[in-house]
């Protein structure tokens, strides 16, 4: 379209335009009920628009975003799989959506049953003994799990343990979590096969070590071959093993963290169990642990007593709440439905097909791209983009050019240990033709880099905007709309 409609909703606002949602207040005026000094001097400048404007604005905006529903979205580490529509319908049932978290347990037995049974399913899938659904996302799950470890050590007189070991391929949330939990994050090297360098691990492991925080399968898309040995080493040193379960999609039904030595872990329901990512969230990050850590899990716990489900607050050793109420319940409902529709066979097939798709795609591009670790991968694989420099392009250019082909790019520049990294996770819900088309686009871009480098450097060419100046955005931050000419500082210094 010639006339690109990029106005903000505020720019579409005109005095006196409106919708008709609520009746005119008919009671006592606010001034009669609240002392004048507490009342706002000027109303918040929400937009003044009619209903069609709201609808058209946000429908058109929506069309400006790639999504699983419209595009292949192989964003590594994010498991962008199909988000079943039925789960959206289920979560919107009034019986799940219109219940209040302060309702007595007797009135929400269905909700509690969903949570209780989901805890059980996740325990079974992970080989763990207890699960809390409270954390709102993976990162909060990490903090919860590490705080649980901390409480465990503290109770056993091991409060001096102050370090958490983290492989250098780890996601940024891992070290950040450790700091929040009052631990020092100590990085452990990866070896040439992409696994943990056992020598380095030995070197870093000490009686100051509180835990190892390991992602398995790792962010390199590899299963840690020495995981049993590693867990044993940690345990022998009196430390605990925390597993970042972001990549459970590859191993569900195939192997269980609880069976290979992990003490506590989190799930990302928005990855493995397909609760939709929503443009950035919400997620849900349940934490599963072994029996010895259960007493420390957050309150309330969802329990079953004599055929009734209840919330149990009486856990004196608990680390306490990590969030108001009980977690992102709407995501629990979706996850429960997802597990129930799959059953044990379906979940295992998910793992197998996610891994098959990744290996297939890897083999399709291996001839022209440098695969960082050339062995069978799990659900994802990483490309070392360094050789692209010889063509005069960078990973960023490839990513931007992929947009013109209608594909969302992989995760790029992560993990940090692979230069110019591209991390590709196709998931089980994509088909072969899509993988082929994506592989061909990737290879075509290499050809373009030779034939017409500008095409690649200045990509994308077919999006609503061209390549954006992210530097400028950071240097001169404009993070809110300010009406032209209007009084733009609302807050006053006192």
């Amino acid at each position: 379209m010639i006339v690109d409609d990029t106005a903000l909703i505020f720019e579409k606002s005109r005095p006196g335009r409106r919708t008709w949602m609520l009746p005119e207040p008919d009671g006592a005026p606010a001034e009669k009920l609240i002392p004048e000094k507490y009342l706002r001097k000027a109303p918040p400048r929400l937009p003044e628009v009619a209903e069609l404007e709201v609808v058209r604005h946000y429908v058109r905006l929506s069309q400006k975003s790639f999504s699983i529903d419209t595009n292949f979205y192989p964003l590594g580490s994010c498991t962008m799989k199909y988000n079943p529509k039925i789960n959206e319908k289920i979560a919107a049932l009034p019986g799940f959506a219109r219940i209040h978290p302060h309702q007595p347990a007797s009135e929400v037995q269905g909700a509690l049953q969903v949570m209780h049974d989901l805890q059980g399913y996740l325990a079974e899938i992970s080989g763990m003994d207890a699960v809390t659904l409270q954390p709102a996302a993976g990162a909060q799950g990490e903090l919860t799990g590490i705080l649980v470890i901390r409480a465990f050590h503290a109770e056993r007189g091991q409060g001096h343990r102050s370090e958490v070991l983290i492989p250098d391929s780890a996601h940024g949330t891992n070290p950040a979590t450790c700091t929040l939990a009052g631990y020092k994050a100590v990085s452990v090297k990866s070896n040439a096969r992409g696994g943990v360098d056992l020598d380095d691990l030995k070197k870093k492991l000490s009686d100051k070590t509180a835990a190892l925080m390991i992602t398995n399968p790792s962010t390199l898309g590899l299963f840690e071959e020495e995981i049993v040995t590693i867990c044993r080493m940690l345990h022998e040193a009196g430390a605990q093993v925390y597993m970042d379960g972001a990549n459970m999609n590859a191993i569900q039904g195939i192997t269980r963290p609880g069976d290979f030595g992990v003490d506590v872990m989190h799930f990302n329901l928005h990855k493995t169990f397909s609760t939709p990512h929503g443009g950035g969230g919400p997620g849900s990050g349940p934490v599963a642990c072994k029996k010895h850590l259960e007493p420390y899990l957050p309150v309330p716990r969802v329990v079953k007593r004599d055929d009734a489900y209840a919330l149990d607050y009486d856990r004196p050793k608990s680390i306490g709440r990590v969030k108001a109420f009980y977690g992102n319940f709407g995501m629990h409902v979706r996850c429960y439905a997802y597990i129930r529709t799959h059953g044990p066979d379906g979940l295992r097939r998910n793992a197998e097909n996610a891994v098959l798709n990744a290996n297939y795609l890897k083999s399709r591009v291996a001839g022209r791209f440098q695969i960082a670790y050339d062995r069978p991968c799990m659900h994802e694989f990483v490309i070392n983009g360094n050789p692209l420099r010889k063509l005069g392009i960078r990973t960023l250019d490839v990513a931007k050019r992929l947009l013109d082909y209608g594909f969302h790019p992989p995760t790029i520049y992560f993990p940090l240990i692979v230069p110019e990294c591209m991390m590709i996770e196709p998931t089980e819900s994509e088909n072969r033709e899509t993988l082929d088309a994506f592989a061909e686009a990737l290879m075509k871009i290499l050809d373009e880099a030779k034939a017409n480098p500008d095409l690649v450097h200045h990509a994308p060419h077919t999006m609503p905007v061209g390549r954006l100046d992210e530097l400028k955005a950071a240097r001169e931050p404009i993070v809110r709309y300010k009406p032209a000419g209007g009084d733009d500082v609302v807050s006053r210094k006192s």
């Binding site: 609520l22 604005h57 996302a137 049993v228 929503g278 443009g279 950035g280 969030k323 290996n359 931007k400």
Partner: protein, 449 residues
């Protein structure tokens, strides 16, 4: 069942192309001894028809707030949700995308967040808001982290009238960091301000909530003055609906405002997913946790939006990051954004005013019932506390028998407020609801045991 696209034939062809005999070939890095050699012990799969029936049955075991008359609040509010919100925010493009890392292909998401940030700034009277946080409680914890990060003091003053669950979260998150929380007492339901300035001289921040957990409107300007005098940062947890009427924290001199945008188009959904928000003065922008969307230009000079100041975040700063948040609550922020756009200035005024009016009408009706007393005299917004001679548990049970979901039982969090119950009304509360409650309550209180 599954949502796998490839058929077994496809899989066979792909295996062949890869040169693998079976998928087992890919799993060789998993040692045999830790392989699960049995199916997971889970119920068997179900087709969509079976699943829907099962889930509808579970849903039917919950009593919805619509199927009765509810006066529950205490951090979760049943407000009117414009019909267009579900239909527009439910579009697949919004629901099934992720964090807009590739800005050019995510202008829709980015612009909507930019608009959200602006609306939160407008509501709170502050300069910068992030793209959303988990919920109000965790947003408050982040605000405290911001204050601590900015200060060498280690003490935080927290009003006793801050949502008790929020205070629990603060304790969980900061206990191991040696942060000391000191409770500020209340008077007539409002945070006591006498002596606050001296107190604040030792604190990194003063944390209050307004309207507070008792529904009472705090004197933010006064609190801010006192805190500033002591050199402490000020943090307010606010109900965004109330900001349609009440002077915003920014205008009262507060540094940070947090809260939950749940009342704007987000279902109560048994406590989540909701939408925490965090807004602050510009000088704190580099301390903000989580995603921030900024305006920029593309290579042709056209306006566009992208994630910005990412150097604050865990994926860049790693162990030096002051927050570990990655996934946030973007879709809920979108719902709030669309709701605020739909309400507009006039709609928000109506929502806030109607909530205020109904709550006061409820107050007048309820306090007319013999046995009901009020512990607080300070002005309130849409919630207030009553005390009765009957144990709240028992009272609520009796009300339930009349199809009424009574108020939040305060006996755990505020044992001093003997038999205290927190009642809430919104624009969804009708005059008939109020009368039904009054009559029901009168009956329930006849027998004080």
């Amino acid at each position: 069942m599954d949502y796998i696209q490839n058929s077994p034939d496809d899989a066979a062809a792909m295996l062949k192309a890869v040169g693998a005999a079976s998928v087992e070939d890919f799993f060789t890095s998993i040692p045999k001894e830790i392989r699960l050699n049995r199916p997971l012990n889970l119920p068997p799969g179900m087709t969509e028809q079976e699943l829907l029936a099962h889930m509808e049955e579970l849903a039917a075991r919950n009593r919805t707030t619509e199927s009765c008359t509810s006066f529950l609040g205490g951090g979760a509010y049943s407000h009117f949700i414009p019909s267009l919100v579900e239909q527009v925010a439910g579009r697949g493009e919004w629901v099934t995308s992720y964090t807009p890392y590739q800005a050019e292909a995510s202008q829709g998401t980015l612009q909507s967040i930019f608009e959200y940030q602006t609306m939160i700034c407008e509501l709170t009277g502050l300069d910068v808001a992030n793209a959303s946080h988990y919920d109000g409680s965790t947003a408050l914890a982040e605000a405290v982290a911001m204050a601590l990060d900015h200060s060498d003091r280690n003490r935080i003053l927290v009003s006793a009238a801050v949502n008790p669950q929020y205070r629990e979260v603060l304790r969980t998150i900061f206990r191991q960091l040696g942060v000391e929380f000191v409770e500020l007492a209340t008077f007539e339901g409002a945070t006591a301000t006498s002596g606050l300035a001296e107190f604040a001289a030792t604190a990194a921040a003063v944390v209050v909530q307004s309207p507070n957990f008792f529904g009472v409107v705090e004197d933010l300007a006064e609190i801010s003055r006192a805190a500033k005098a002591g050199g402490a940062r000020t943090i307010a947890s606010v109900n965004p609906v109330s900001l349609g009427l009440l002077e915003p924290p920014g205008a009262c001199g507060f540094d940070v405002a947090v809260g939950d945008a749940q009342p704007f188009g987000i279902e109560t959904s048994y406590g989540g997913p909701w939408c925490g928000f965090i807004a602050a003065r510009m000088e704190l922008i580099r301390k903000m946790p989580g995603r921030l969307v900024g305006q920029t230009v593309d290579d042709k000079g056209r306006r566009g939006f992208c994630l910005t100041l990412q150097a604050r975040e865990q994926h860049i700063r790693r162990e030096k990051a002051s927050s570990n948040i990655c996934t946030n609550q973007a879709l809920m922020a979108l719902r709030a954004t669309i709701t605020m756009s739909t309400l507009g200035r006039e709609g928000l005024r109506r929502m806030a005013t109607l909530s205020l009016q109904r709550a006061h009408e409820l107050h007048d009706a309820v306090t007319s019932v013999p046995g009901v007393s009020r512990p607080h005299q300070a002005p309130f917004f849409h919630e207030f506390v009553i005390q009765t001679p009957v144990d709240p548990d028992l009272l609520n049970e009796r009300l339930l028998a009349r199809g009424i979901l009574g108020g939040v039982d305060l006996h755990q969090s505020y044992p001093d407020l003997r038999n205290g119950v927190l009642l809430c009304a919104t624009e969804r509360t009708s005059k008939a609801d109020i009368e039904r409650f009054r009559a029901g309550l009168a009956e329930c209180l006849k027998d004080p045991r």
